[in-house]
């Protein structure tokens, strides 16, 4: 029997560290199997060979920070049947979205001797601020397990199973001691989207929110708890302003402490 046409996968990069697309190459046990099921049509980090669109599944890494990239994502959307963002940059603007709270001209002058050579937008924004996104995979970086789940779900024509509850639930499942209750360590677990497997508390450390806000987080209540542990406004502002600083819930909470 003739084999059905394999779906075409494309991987696209915007402003990012490359870590999320590297996660695909980090699937050491599954990579060759995935490559058997899917035609890798555009994945420059892995191969020179590229195949023209349209593409069945586009994985997009990185945020939009230049006018050129704002135009490029429109073209990629047109060429993609499904478009999935991978990671905090593509889903929330990434660490580079800290410029959204500052003056980008000042930033440019700090880093570059010739700011006139630099062309960049004043903001770093999520892919979803520019085009329709079919699914958002969280994390800085994403989890390889969840990436395989997303690709498998797409192949099977079902919705990916990535629970929207908090990191706290993952801690309970893992049987970790609560670092806030147990030793008074500040932790963003109660407001952070699950997916990492509660890795920080497992290493005696508070969650720092790299998967971004969970569904309907109660950030003011957590901040009240954190200030009882000794965090002042400046520390609270900083804890919400890292890799998902421009995600709505974290941005608003950080602004409450920005004075």
């Amino acid at each position: 029997m003739e084999r059905a046409r394999r779906p075409k996968l494309a991987v696209w990069k915007f402003a990012s560290c490359d870590g999320c697309q590297l996660s695909l190459l980090d699937c050491e046990d599954e990579l060759l199997e995935v490559a058997g099921e899917i035609e890798i049509a555009h994945f420059l980090e892995a191969t020179r060979a590229t195949i023209q669109g349209p593409y069945d599944l586009s994985l997009v890494e990185g945020s939009v920070t230049t006018a050129h990239d704002a135009a490029r994502i429109q073209e990629i959307r047109k060429q993609s049947r499904f478009l999935v963002t991978i990671g905090a940059c593509a889903t929330a603007g990434g660490i580079q979205a800290l410029r959204n709270f500052a003056d980008v001209r000042e930033y440019t002058a700090i880093v570059y001797a010739r700011p006139d050579y630099i062309q960049t937008l004043a903001t770093s924004t999520a892919i979803g601020d520019h085009v329709k996104v079919d699914f958002e995979l969280r994390g800085c970086p994403i989890s390889t397990r969840q990436l395989i789940e997303v690709i498998s779900a797409f192949l099977a024509g079902r919705k990916p199973q990535t629970p929207p509850h908090s990191v706290c639930v993952e801690c309970k499942i893992a049987g970790n001691l609560c670092v806030m209750v147990g030793h008074g360590t500040p932790c963003l677990g109660p407001v952070t989207h699950a997916g990492c497997g509660a890795v920080c508390p497992a290493y005696n450390r508070g969650c720092y929110g790299c998967y971004g806000p969970m569904e309907t987080p109660n950030t003011p209540s957590l901040s009240a708890g954190l200030s009882k542990l000794g965090m002042d406004d400046d520390a609270l502002k900083r804890i919400y302003r890292t890799f998902n600083a421009n995600a709505d819930a974290f941005r608003k909470e950080s602004e409450r402490h920005d004075r």
């Binding site: 560290c17 490359d18 996660s23 890798i40 892995a46 050129h68 880093v111 570059y112 001797a113 010739r114």
Partner: protein
């Protein structure tokens, strides 16, 4: 006059987004440019006003391929500023996690990015159709590196367990034992990798590089040692700014680094090997000898063999550290903030990574400077292109273009790393 322009608009199998352009006139290469058009991300700017404790996690995000290198340069620079030294088992654990990154990153480059050039494939997935066992071996070896990072760091990419002063949690001895089993197998695969790569067909091309690397005191360097060069430089990290400078040139958005008064230099595996080969483990030294490397290697195409030797060394060193490991009493040393400036250089897989931080009395970062390996190597990479491409000008365009791409991949450039210093390319030709 005949003019020949070779362009590759999107370089493949490098980390990040770059392009190259070579212009020749009457059979002589006039200019060679490695263009970097990744958008700037401004790390040095937004590090200002963050606490010194935040630098390892923030700077890791400069590069998903070598986050451990960023974390190590950051913690060493901060400890230098705060006047503390981290010794004993904690220092050994830092070497161990760095071994993991070298194994993972080098193996990725050897098997997935570089080897396909020598064997005539577009990428490793295409190569796997004919050489499934070899690609499988590469993936298994890469996983061994990732296993170290995942155990010690909590996860493979952007590890969470590294902190200024040590770790959040130090592993128990028994946790490291399964790692040792995997690493013993990995060491065999690494030795096979040295022999496999040594058998490739290499163009006979050498360059007279000034090699720059850390020189360890009797040990192959990861995070400690003086900055040395093959032409006699011997300085501490604190003296880096006196001897090196960066310029902002227009054709590529990278800041280009030079040794003041002398010019381009090369960091990375070739440089480390040239300055430290005697400190390799006996097994790695013997494999290097058998592969015909000699005391230094100035042919950048053969860097794939040197990377394989370093992977073998990293497996050996990781096994030594695990065998000797004594659990530390505490997972981190105490730190007190003070106003000071700290400096550190460590050896990222693809070359030396320099960090400098100026701290305020309350522990905030007043100024940050980060010089990644790729902006240090970029002038040398362009010199390679200029020197080598003249000899290839009679090749058909496709073959010439491929050779030029290979010349860049020889140095495993990490364009994402370089990006936040790199200019955005202005002329995109359209």
């Amino acid at each position: 006059m005949t003019v020949k322009t070779i362009k590759v608009d999107q370089l493949a199998r490098v980390e990040g987004e770059g392009a190259l352009k070579v212009i020749a006139r009457d059979g002589v290469v006039q200019s060679a440019e490695l263009n970097i058009f990744e958008p700037p991300r401004f790390f040095e700017a937004f590090l200002r006003d963050r606490m010194y404790t935040e630098a390892p996690d923030i700077t890791a995000r400069i590069c998903g391929i070598c986050p451990v290198a960023y974390q190590m340069s950051a913690v060493h620079a901060m400890e230098n500023a705060l006047g503390v030294a981290v010794d004993g088992p904690l220092r050994e654990l830092r070497r161990l996690i760095y071994c993991g990154e070298w194994i993972e990153s080098h193996t990725l480059h050897i098997y997935m990015l570089h080897a396909p050039d020598f064997l005539g494939y577009e990428g490793a997935i295409e190569m796997a159709r004919d050489h499934a066992d070899i690609v499988r071996r590469g993936l298994d070896l890469k996983r061994a590196g990732n296993s170290i990072i995942a155990l010690l760091g909590g996860r493979e990419i952007h590890p969470i367990n590294v902190r200024v002063g040590g770790f959040y949690r130090a592993p128990r001895r028994r946790e490291l034992q399964p790692l040792a089993e995997e690493l013993k197998r990995a060491r065999d695969w690494a030795l096979a990798t040295v022999r496999w790569t040594a058998g490739f067909d290499f163009p006979d091309m050498e360059r007279d590089y000034e090699f720059v690397a850390l020189r360890g005191d009797g040990e192959y360097p990861f995070s400690q040692g003086r900055i040395a060069s093959s032409r006699g430089l011997d300085i501490s990290a604190a003296e880096y700014d006196e001897h090196f400078e960066e310029t902002h040139v227009e054709h590529s958005t990278a800041l280009h680094a030079h040794i003041k008064t002398r010019g381009p230099y090369l960091t990375g595996p070739l440089a480390r090997y040239a300055l430290n080969a005697a400190s390799l483990s006996p097994l790695a030294r013997e494999a290097a000898r058998e592969a015909g490397l000699g005391s230094a290697c100035a042919n950048p195409f053969r860097s794939i063999i040197v990377r394989a030797v370093e992977v073998l060394y990293a497996c050996d060193e990781a096994l030594r550290i695990i065998a000797d490991y004594e659990e530390p009493e505490r997972s981190a040393v105490d730190l007190d903030a003070r106003a000071a400036t700290g400096y550190a250089a460590t050896e990222a897989p693809r070359g030396m990574l320099y960090h400098r931080y100026q701290l305020t009395a309350d522990g905030k970062i007043a100024d940050a400077r980060i010089v990644p390996p790729t902006s240090q190597n970029q002038p040398s990479i362009e010199e390679d292109l200029k020197t080598f491409a003249t000899a290839w000008l009679d090749l058909p365009d496709d073959a010439l273009r491929h050779r030029c791409e290979q010349t860049i991949r020889n140095h495993d450039p990490c364009i994402s790393c370089a990006t936040h210093f790199l200019r955005l390319e202005i002329d995109r030709g359209g």
